[in-house]
């Protein structure tokens, strides 16, 4: 087996050296009833050629986003990833290292995480960010739990325009971890969330741009929250939007929970991605996840370490702020490299390209009879109401190899009033030909 360096002769010599008659002697502690005598009923070892063939055959059965006009978003976005990103994250020193517990030989990881934390804080307009969480949805529920800790309250108000998966993850944690949610019915449009805030409310969770693509100013809501002693949590599923629209930090957000996939990370069928988590300085000791801090070594040279770990499970055990250990380090690295390449000028231009693409798609779809744009303001994603069920339209267009977006009914199959809604995203990858195919296809299906 190509990954196993021991030869039969090595094994014999080693067993002899430790005085064991056979390998079975080393497993003697295993109860006899639970010992397997031979290999289990699975295929035998395969060479690289055969494995590549088998897995590539599965991959070949999928319709690749890059091979068709593609307008699917809803929390995961197809962007161009510069070649240098994937090259650099595959350096073995990044790919095959562990969590930086030994800082003297992990300064590479620690320094990029410090850069990552700074980038996330700048983008979101917040004061401090952690070294990543699993994904946006889990970052969202961690934000709710942090707000509960900070305020000593246990009820969160969730916007009906929050991504359905984020909402569902909150619901699961609320049920099993014991806190309350007041959730608005899912529907596009404005909500008066302020009226749901009372003295038991720990936070209000909104998304910007929201699940339907609508961008809003939440400054007023922030004031209402703060007046009642509650926090405002802002979720961002398209982090690139912050290259174009005002960041949550400028609207009064206390915690930002975001998905960072759009920078540096491929679609990957939904994972792995990278959760971003930022907050006000005064809440730092209640934050979940790893934090990298600057310090100096014995010679006085600047260096970085994992810090404030007294919040964490490996020190605090049952008193930890979160049970999180592993996060999403390598995806955070991809994010950091992509954003380092873009810089201020590149990010702003990329955001503008995305907005332009979405405006172009919207302008074309609005001209189709029966199609109505739901949004007033949007970034690179918006929702249209179709004259017939969106799921059927999407399926019909998929037959013609156009992936037209996400029907809202995929998340809420039984809910009235949502069946005709379709969420579409456009990015810098969208070409004029793609838009032509979409418009043409939609006209045919709807006619």
């Amino acid at each position: 087996m190509r990954y196993l360096p021991l030869t039969e002769r090595d094994r014999e010599e080693m067993l002899a050296a430790l005085g064991a008659p056979s390998i079975d002697a080393l497993f003697a502690e295993v109860p006899a009833a639970a010992r397997l005598d031979g290999p289990v009923g699975l295929p035998r070892a395969k060479g690289e050629i055969e494995v590549e063939r088998a897995i590539s055959a599965m991959a070949a059965r999928n319709v690749v986003a890059g091979s068709v006009p593609f307008f699917v978003g809803a929390g995961v976005y197809r962007h161009h990833i510069p070649a240098a990103v994937d090259h650099l994250i595959q350096r073995g020193e990044f790919l095959t290292s562990y969590t930086p517990y030994q800082p003297e030989i992990s300064q590479g990881t620690l320094q990029y995480l410090f850069e990552f934390q700074t980038q996330v804080a700048l983008l979101t307009g917040m004061e401090v960010a952690n070294a990543s969480l699993y994904d946006g949805a889990t970052a969202c529920v961690e934000a709710v739990m942090m707000a509960n800790r900070v305020t000593g309250r246990r009820k969160a108000v969730l916007s009906g325009c929050l991504h359905p998966h984020y909402r569902e993850v909150c619901e699961t944690y609320a049920r099993f971890l014991g806190f309350d949610l007041a959730t608005q019915d899912p529907a596009p449009g404005d909500e008066d969330l302020g009226r749901l805030v009372d003295r038991g409310t720990s936070c209000v969770v909104v998304q910007n741009p929201d699940f339907y693509g609508e961008a809003r100013d939440y400054s007023g809501l922030a004031r209402v929250c703060h007046g009642a002693g509650a926090l405002l949590v802002v979720v961002v599923t398209e982090i690139l939007s912050l290259g174009a629209i005002r960041p949550p930090g400028e609207m009064g957000a206390d915690i930002v929970a975001a998905e960072g996939q759009s920078l540096g990370n491929a679609l990957n069928f939904g994972g792995p991605h990278v959760g971003l988590f930022a907050a006000r300085d005064k809440f730092v000791r209640q934050m979940p996840g790893r934090l990298v801090g600057q310090t100096a070594d014995l010679d006085g040279r600047r260096g970085w370490v994992l810090t404030l770990s007294t919040r964490e499970q490996h020190i605090r055990r049952e008193k930890a702020t979160s049970n999180i250990c592993t996060n999403s380090g390598l995806c955070a690295l991809a994010f950091t490299i992509h954003l380092a390449l873009l810089g201020e000028a590149g990010l702003v231009r990329l955001a503008r390209l995305n907005h332009a693409a979405a405006v172009a798609v919207a302008e074309r779809l609005e001209r189709i009879p029966g199609v109505r744009l739901v949004n007033r303001a949007f970034f690179n994603e918006f929702t249209v109401r179709l004259p017939q069920p969106a799921a059927d339209v999407v399926e019909a267009l998929a037959q013609t190899r156009v992936l037209a977006g996400v029907p809202v009914s995929r998340f809420y199959p039984k809910r009235d009033g949502l069946a005709d809604l379709l969420v579409l995203a456009a990015t810098e990858m969208t070409t004029p030909e793609d838009i032509d195919r979409l418009e043409q296809g939609l006209r045919e299906v709807l006619s």
Binding site: V30, R44, E52, V64, Q102, E104, I337, R349, L353
Partner: protein
């Protein structure tokens, strides 16, 4: 060797030391307007941002592509990695990461598919997930696999939620979870997060859980036992079947932390040990890269009594092939709900499956055997020099305590730091908590005999140096690294968690 030259001021004018090059932060290499990506300017269009356009400067630095490539290459050279040497970090399973797996995960048919494109356009993705689940079912003997948890700790949460759901279905509210004192920190953290009182179980003199103490704590208010097997001392819990029976007799569930499944994969099925639920760290046993701390995957194997509570989404075999159930209705009515956005860590699924297919049923068994053989070989090679808290053979990792350093003035930390100067990543230190000054060494199956022989020789020489009174070597270590010991107290007292231009200026002035 002249020690003074090693610990004294840096000799070069730059602070660089040959291949070790000092590297500024990207924020300190900024030139406004410079960009490492060439993008077109869009044709004029009417903005629909509705007055929300971002004003002012964000503060991101401008670098060109060559600067970015050099920056991250230099950073990478400050990291230790499996690719560069033995990484015997106990309990973390730092084994070789095959590059075939990286290649396969980057195919367009895997990396460039969207979780919300029509299910009819991704049959291969469902096939891959179902195939992975099949392998894990056969290897664990368990009937259901939850793929969506993103890491081991997330898998623990999934398992404890499933247990809670099963208890609620029985109309029971139990309040205590038994956790051995040797457990990973995530176990008590998870149990506490789920609202349970954590009740610790002591270890016995042989490093196993004290069965009498455990059975005495069982009662109608105990929801579960969370046990790691092989345990964090690197020992197999030989009474596990009796323990499982006692747990079940008390109406509780048996959660097993599967972090150490790599020691028994292919030789023991957890179901045969009476386990109800176990997470599998695909980034440990099945070699998906640790990536400096993730991403990982903590798939969970569930017994029939818990499988119906598995989180969404489910993949089921329907009349027309595989189906993706995304709603908690119908067959998935008792599902505990969603734990993560979308369908789980596909990128990790494909790597783990490639690893398993490469080894096959025969090779996976060999993996466990070689991992255990390597650990015992280290044990035999070092037991005369280091001190073993527990007798007998070990499994995939060997635990020493700091007895051999008694009266030397050298601590476990010092000893670990000295290993760094010798070109090794240290073992896990001070864990598990039940032995004094713990050193937990896990070589994994991907180390050669020659590599182990070298490591044994180095550790022996260091142990001899400690005994001979060469304390300074240890206390000042490491000295040959990009940084020497870092001031963690200072980092925590006045946290600096991001770069700020004004702060750097002030520090420089001071």
């Amino acid at each position: 060797m002249n020690d003074v030259s090693l610990t004294g001021p840096i000799a070069s004018v730059t602070g660089n030391r040959g291949l070790q090059i000092e590297e500024k932060l990207i924020f300190e290499q900024d030139s406004p307007g410079r960009c490492g990506v060439d993008l077109p300017e869009p044709a004029p269009f009417l903005s629909r941002l509705g007055g929300l356009a971002r004003q002012g400067v964000i503060g991101l630095p401008g670098l060109s592509e060559p600067q970015v490539v050099r920056h991250f290459t230099r950073l990478s050279q400050k990291n230790y990695a499996i690719d560069s040497g033995l990484y015997p970090l106990g309990s973390c399973t730092m084994k070789h990461n095959p590059r075939l797996n990286e290649k396969l995960a980057r195919q367009p048919g895997i990396a460039d598919i969207h979780p919300l494109q029509p299910v009819s356009t991704v049959p291969g993705a469902l096939e891959l997930m179902d195939t992975l689940a099949h392998w894990l079912k056969i290897l664990t003997g368990m009937p259901a696999i939850a793929l969506s948890p993103a890491a081991g700790a997330h898998g623990e949460l999934c398992g404890m939620m499933a247990i809670r759901a099963a208890l609620e279905l029985r109309g029971e509210r139990r309040s205590r979870v038994l956790v051995p004192e040797s457990a990973h920190g995530t176990n008590p953290a998870t149990a506490a997060a789920c609202g349970y009182m954590v009740d610790p179980i002591p270890a016995n003199d042989s490093g196993r859980v004290d069965r009498a103490a455990l059975e005495a704590k069982l009662g109608p208010d105990v929801a579960a036992l969370m046990l790691t097997n092989p345990n964090t001392c690197g020992l197999f819990e030989g009474e596990i079947i009796e323990i499982a029976a006692a747990v079940h007799a008390a109406g509780a569930f048996f959660y097993c932390d599967g972090a150490n499944f790599n020691a028994i994969v292919g030789r023991v099925r957890p179901a045969d040990l009476g386990i109800d639920c176990m997470h599998l760290n695909l980034h440990k046993t099945f070699s998906t890269p640790h990536g400096g701390g993730g991403p990982g995957c903590g798939a969970v194997a569930l017994a029939a009594s818990l499988g119906r509570h598995a989180p969404l989404p489910w993949i089921v075999h329907g009349p027309d092939g595989l189906e993706l159930l995304e709603q908690g209705t119908g067959a998935a009515e008792l599902s505990l709900g969603r734990l993560k956005g979308f369908h789980g860590q596909m990128g990790m699924f494909v790597r783990a499956l490639a690893y398993m297919m490469s080894h096959g049923s025969d090779g996976l068994r060999q993996v466990a055997e070689d991992a255990v053989l390597n650990a015992n070989y280290l044990r035999a090679g070092l037991e005369g020099e280091l001190s073993l808290p527990f007798g007998g053979h070990c499994m995939h990792e060997v635990l020493f305590d700091d007895g051999f350093l008694k009266d030397t003035g050298v601590t476990t930390l010092d000893f670990a730091k000295a290993l760094i100067d010798e070109g090794y990543h240290p073992m896990t230190m001070y864990f598990p908590l039940i032995v004094h000054g713990a050193m937990l060494i896990e070589p994994t199956e991907t180390e050669s005999k020659a590599s182990l022989d070298e490591f044994i020789a180095v550790v022996k020489r260091l142990a001899a140096a400690a005994r001979s009174g060469d304390v300074r070597r240890f206390r000042s270590a490491p000295v040959l690294t990009p940084r020497r010991r870092l001031d963690e107290t200072r980092a925590a007292r006045k946290p600096i968690l991001r770069w700020r231009a004004e702060l750097e200026c002030r520090e420089a002035a001071e």
